[in-house]
Symmetry: C2
Subunit: 197 residues, 2 copies
């Protein structure tokens, strides 16, 4: 069983570097010092391997995140979270999860099973951290989307300075606590309904 653990860890490292979209067993096996035969033997199938690899990834991200919220934070919660996502120890994992999430958009049957409600669980965490208000869920959605969008931009361009500046701007906006806008959820839905093609 310990051999399987070792293989899972090495396979995860390989997926962090090469992605999971076109993953094939033989090159992976060659790189981590085993054979396609043994990967099937230990994990049952390619899908089983990817499943265990993604579970391991989620586990590590979870562990790192729990360590984060245990530490005392000097900066704002959002900025602290941003620094965590862009940390080079965490970014590869988030990139991998990004990949699976986007692949699941076009091929849910193949990839959705590897997403253990990642996005919605983070949304819940953020929502719990926000002050209570009628639009708290929408505010949490906004915060999560900003992290996602800026992270995607950071991963694409590598421009940490610009993306961090953007986050700090939003952070200062958030602290300003702008009062509720006139368009509540119902009126938004009304506007959308008159939009269709």
């Amino acid at each position: 069983m310990e051999r399987k653990d070792e293989l899972r860890v090495k396979a995860l490292d390989y997926c962090l570097a090469h992605g999971v979209a076109g993953l094939s067993l033989r090159p992976l096996a060659l790189k981590i010092g085993t054979s396609a035969r043994l990967l099937i033997y230990h994990f049952g199938s390619r899908d089983g391997l990817i499943g265990e690899v993604m579970n391991e990834a989620h586990r590590r991200v979870q562990r790192s995140f729990e360590e984060l919220i245990r530490r005392p934070g000097f900066k704002s919660p959002l900025r602290t979270f941003w620094d965590w996502t862009t940390d080079r120890r965490n970014a590869p994992y988030l990139r991998l999860i990004f990949e699976v999430q986007v692949l699941a958009l076009q091929n849910p049957t193949a990839y959705a099973r590897y997403l253990a409600g990642t996005s919605s669980s983070w949304l819940t965490v953020i929502e719990a951290a926000l002050p209570s208000s009628g639009d708290r869920r929408a505010r949490a959605t906004l915060c999560a989307a900003i992290i996602d969008g800026l992270l995607l931009e950071f991963l694409s361009t590598g421009d940490l300075e610009r993306t961090t500046s953007a986050l700090d701007i939003f952070d200062s906006m958030l602290r300003a606590r702008v009062p509720r806008v006139g368009s509540d959820r119902r009126s938004v839905a009304r506007q959308n309904r008159s939009k269709g093609a």
Copy 2:
């Protein structure tokens, strides 16, 4: 040549529905009423086909976007842009571009060529629409990231109401014109430099 145009259009429709990650010629050819032989004949190779398909996608998005900015806008620019991205005529294209962008993160040599600077070109457009200020580029980055992040959330969950509420919150924040925060670019860079792992 007109036959090739027809094939390109049909292939794009197929990619909009099935994605481009695991695209293979024979199923595509079967679905659009041709053969793998002819796809190679017309487009030279699989990569050539994907290249032309993505060009066609970018062309259509571009055309739709130009039509958008030609129309008079009743709502805020950002909300107008959001309604455009989530329009069911446009969202599939943005989803496809999302897919390629994320695939390029892990495999730039294979996919980066299909991204004709999409993200940066939009950034420029947004930047031009914002009032001039020292942090205009960062603000543009923020706006683009919010659209990206919310769009990804919308595509993943289909929850247009919640994501639109989130956008409206940000829109109202933006209108409030919070003054510059203390952390300018230089101080941000300073903070980041002392972050490394």
